[in-house]
Symmetry: C2
Subunit: 326 residues, 2 copies
């Protein structure tokens, strides 16, 4: 993995992925006590940054591989990214999804033309299912994070952050990234190392799912004891990846662990102040900026708002519970 791969991915994504805006609001600055910049990846195609990695990986496939098709396992955002990128490449897609994924993510993945195979997150291993189906049917498996071209695709977001931060006059800041398996985090970190070394990437995770934060402390890959039971479904993984962890270990600062309720509060602030829709896992970095400021350094902070694919009941619950804080 290196910056050349990310820059090559950026060329392949040009005209296909969106350059998402870097948003801000004086009201959020007031809450955080510093300037807050929000990279709104919920506005990316399919509602999350995952389209970047999906396009990056599928656009590298041979004609033969495209003809046979691709397979992926995902809680929903990688699923949708793969489904749309596959459709645009005219290649069939099969997606292995947990049966407790948000209904919206399952529905969207089907509507984008992918074949969805559901599994039970508590007693089945999605990686094993995906690898078995791939072997049986000759499909190309595109892993959600531990895959070089996926990491390179996610890293293109880091190139944009560097450019947009420079336009705002910011060359030193913490960059808080919503972190699951580390594909987004490590991709952005690699990009910033090369083009904006004053920007330090820090993973943000929910309470009880802090595998990356603990791994960064211990220096080796640590596991979560749970793999379900979080509102932040988009960023719940068993452990950081074999490819992503060494990159994060080398480049990323201490993790921040956030209470899920603060993700809901941050969703409401993003709705009211930035006019964007976030899912809980996509709001976790903003939550860290707004409510965990004592763990952050500097006069400005940059956060990723990684996805907006939230079930309506969860969004309404957030508005009803925390709407009076607007």
């Amino acid at each position: 993995m290196n910056i050349d791969m990310i820059e090559q991915a950026a060329k392949r994504l040009k005209g296909h992925a969106r350059k998402t805006p870097l948003l801000s609001s004086p009201f959020l600055d007031d809450i955080a006590g510093r300037r807050v910049f929000v990279k709104a990846e919920c506005l990316q195609h399919t509602g999350s940054f995952k389209f970047r990695g999906a396009w990056s990986a599928i656009s590298m496939l041979t004609d033969n591989a495209l003809k046979t098709g691709v397979i992926a396992f995902s809680s929903g955002n990688h699923a949708q990214g793969i489904a749309l990128a596959a459709r645009l490449h005219k290649t069939p897609a099969t997606i292995v999804m947990p049966n407790d994924a948000p209904q919206l993510k399952i529905d969207n993945t089907c509507a984008l033309g992918a074949k969805v195979v559901l599994y039970d997150r508590t007693n089945e291993d999605r990686q094993a299912i995906g690898e078995k189906l791939a072997a049986e049917r000759g499909l190309t498996l595109i892993k959600p994070f531990d895959e070089p071209q996926v990491i390179a695709g996610q890293g293109t977001c880091g190139l944009e952050i560097a450019e947009q931060a420079a336009e705002e006059g910011i060359d030193t800041a913490d960059v808080l990234v919503c972190c699951g398996g580390g594909g987004f985090t490590s991709g952005i970190a690699l990009a910033l190392e090369a083009v904006a070394p004053g920007l330090r990437v820090r993973p943000v995770e929910p309470v009880n799912f802090d595998d990356v934060t603990r791994s960064l402390v211990s220096g080796q890959i640590e596991h979560n004891t749970q793999t379900s039971g979080s509102l932040c479904d988009a960023i719940i993984t068993q452990q950081p990846g074999d490819l992503t962890f060494p990159i994060m270990h080398r480049l990323c600062g201490p993790g921040i662990i956030v209470d899920e309720r603060d993700c809901l509060r941050a969703m409401v602030q993003a709705y009211a102040r930035l006019k964007i829709v976030l899912e809980p896992g996509g709001a976790i970095a903003l939550a860290a900026a707004l409510y965990y400021g004592d763990q952050i350094e500097g006069e400005a902070v940059i956060v990723t708002a990684s996805g907006g694919n939230v079930d309506r009941s969860v969004f309404q619950h957030a508005l009803e519970t925390y709407g009076d804080q607007i």
Copy 2:
């Protein structure tokens, strides 16, 4: 009014106003039966395109005028745009707002440092109040739409639409614009006339507040009989402006009149498919694209999503009432 004024405004806005993205979703294309592109001005500073005109006008003032301060009358979006642009220019702002404006808009305007004066929309004339206060206190009145530098500022959105449409390969399409007094509509029309003449601007208005549509038919300025009682508070005005109407009459195609309930439906689609928050008046052009397709020509349509400053109760009502259509 001419394209040079818009291009000059674009120079003054550079680095201050946001270049908002042109969003799309295959799900919206399916509903509309054609490609739909959404210029997401809800992501502009203060949550609506109005910041463009406000910055354009205030950035033209003399040091003396800035020292005394500015005054504006507005249902809320111009108010917030003026309040923030004034604060950034370090000039005091007084805003005359209707007492039935959404509470969020009143609160935000105050929070941005403006002094708010409320009036009764049913029996007081905001223009007269604004002009009187301006005369008494020596303040510069910045009208919400019938003001050359405001129209020029709103027109900068048209320059961006032209550029972004070209990137999507679109040179012929209807451009549906959420229309109140016509500042946004006429500014965009002037910009497109100069740089993308294949893009035809069409105003979109709510049922019972179709003054511009009727004025375009009759060839003279027509009035609304009501000036309150609409969810689309942002685009309710008594009549088109003396400056804006001749421009619209020369350049804009037939208006489209939309049922308010369809604005709420479009808000829900924008939430689910684009991950943006719209207010009813800001969703009216999208509603026309999605649900009034028989009045639209061409394989693609461009719509403005002009603002997102919606009271939470209205947003929740939309989600509860039309959320099952996602």
